[in-house]
């Protein structure tokens, strides 16, 4: 038991290295998590942006937080997909018959989601900078943004893990992505919620993405974050913990 614990991080980083190769070798993944959000950003800023009243002088400043969340949401289906494949193809079975920490394999997938999102979000932010995005935020505000994005990623990755571990088919595993893709679209990511009709507005204002978008937007534009940051944190941490507990239960039952 002792030796196994000592190796947890070494084993997990082998798992991380492995599934990062899966990400980098899949053109489909790279397009969905990086190129598509960038294309959306270009579309919204240069095609629709002129007609959108966001209340900021620079629409890309308004848009960027939502685009970042879309990129993260787009990556979720792939977490389920990769996990599902490992279960189906007997790869987890091989790992579980080896003297390695049981949870190293699943954490490898979760960390992959974190690292690959870090890369794609960095690329997207660089493109945004080229498009004229400017932020007066200081280092602390940026760190807070990174922390919230990391929590959002972890929350979604653990939801994806439940789907990937318990699905009976590939389609079942990746279906989890669709409702998650929708959340940023019905939020204040693209336009202020005030323009939306009653029920839509009620949904948009009370779902997790809006509070996260508003918090990041406030942090990046040096505005006071108010209560929104606590709502955002509560959502992220709450979802993450519940999904983590369920996913681990499913995972242990299989092993």
């Amino acid at each position: 038991m002792e030796t196994i614990k000592n190796y947890f991080f070494a084993d997990m980083s082998v798992m991380l290295g492995r599934s990062m190769r899966h990400v980098l070798r899949s053109m489909d993944t790279i397009i969905t998590v990086t190129i598509m959000p960038i294309a959306m950003m270009l579309l919204f800023v240069y095609v629709l942006g002129g007609a959108i009243q966001s209340g900021t002088d620079n629409y890309v400043d308004y848009l960027l937080p939502g685009i970042l969340l879309i990129a993260i949401a787009n990556s979720v289906g792939y977490v389920s997909y990769r996990l599902f494949n490992d279960v189906q193809r007997g790869i987890f079975e091989r790992f579980n018959s080896m003297p390695i920490a049981r949870s190293a394999a699943i954490w490898g997938h979760i960390m992959t989601s974190l690292v690959s999102n870090l890369i794609s979000l960095t690329v997207i932010i660089i493109v945004a900078l080229i498009m004229g995005f400017r932020s007066p935020a200081g280092i602390l505000a940026w760190l807070a943004v990174a922390g919230i994005l990391a929590l959002f990623t972890l929350a979604l990755a653990w939801i994806a893990a439940i789907a990937g571990l318990s699905a009976k088919s590939v389609d079942g595993a990746t279906a989890i992505a669709y409702p998650i893709h929708f959340l940023p679209l019905i939020s204040s990511a693209f336009v202020p919620t005030a323009t939306m009709p009653g029920p839509v507005r009620a949904f948009a204002e009370n779902q997790p993405v809006t509070s996260i978008v508003e918090t990041i937007r406030a942090l990046l534009s040096n505005q006071p974050v108010g209560n929104e940051i606590w709502v955002a944190l509560a959502w992220c941490i709450g979802i993450m913990l519940v999904a983590y507990i369920i996913a681990m239960r499913v995972y242990k039952k299989q092993a």
């Binding site: 190796y7 190769r21 091989r94 018959s97 080896m98 003297p99």
Partner: protein, 251 residues
């Protein structure tokens, strides 16, 4: 310690389905042991219990001297499993697959280990191609090479040649014989009677939840009704022995 595996009174049910109803057998250190049975008799269930993936309902199971329930970590240290379906990472190359396992086994020189094993199973030329481009036989060889990393003293092969063409099967037998020649204990399950006959030092036949007969091929041959031998000019194959025994039990 003489036996690599010791199983006594092993029982396992999946809900209503009573798959193993009291299985007993022993596997001698350094031997090749074949567990024979038709589809769905519980061969994989036994392999999963022996390799700590599944817990039995009752019975004593010792692997390399360690109780599977009490010392699963120690069991895992001393075995390796090649499951019924090739558990390789198709996105990685053959070399990357083996290197990954060597790292997970915390060996000091994963690259060298990978190079040596690729050579040994004849995959050096294909080593840097993605495993998704490999043929069925190459996949199986890579799969077994991953199990050989770190030279575990006991290796489980669950229906290793199911779905392989005859040529790949014979090639595979050669690898198993080599392994055994180096002192590794091999536990093999198969539906192919010929395979057990070709490879195994000892054969056990699993039928309706129990080992109905076990012994060397020569011993099993003697169980064959002698009156019938007179009619048949060729040696009875294991298949005929199997059918004769199973037929007798079912009457």
């Amino acid at each position: 310690m003489q036996n690599s595996i010791q199983v006594k009174g092993l029982q396992k049910s999946y809900k209503q389905l009573h798959v193993l109803k009291g299985v007993d057998f022993e596997v001698e250190k350094g031997s090749i042991f074949a567990l024979l049975g038709s589809n769905g008799t519980g061969k994989t269930t036994i392999v999963r219990i022996l390799s700590t993936l599944l817990k039995q309902d009752s019975g004593n199971v010792t692997v390399n001297g360690f109780d599977v329930l009490l010392k699963p970590e120690s069991v895992r240290q001393s075995i390796s499993l090649t499951g019924q379906f090739a558990a390789i990472d198709e996105v990685l190359t053959g070399r990357e697959n083996i290197t990954m396992i060597a790292r997970l086994r915390h060996l000091s020189n994963p690259r060298q280990v990978a190079a040596d094993l690729l050579e040994r199973i004849g995959l050096t030329d294909a080593a840097d191609r993605r495993a998704s481009t490999y043929s069925g036989g190459m996949r199986r060889r890579l799969d077994i090479a991953m199990s050989l990393v770190g030279n575990p003293p006991l290796i489980f092969l669950d229906e290793p040649t199911t779905g392989l063409d005859p040529e790949a099967r014979i090639e595979f037998w050669k690898i198993v014989k080599e392994l055994s020649g180096n002192g590794t204990t091999v536990f093999l399950t198969t539906q192919y009677l010929e395979e057990a006959e070709q490879l195994a030092d000892k054969i056990a036949i699993l039928h309706e939840g129990r080992i109905i007969v076990s012994g060397t091929f020569a011993e099993l041959k003697q169980l064959f009704p002698p009156t019938q031998v007179e009619y048949i000019e060729k040696q009875p194959t294991l298949e005929e022995i199997f059918l004769a025994i199973v037929g007798k039990k079912e009457k």
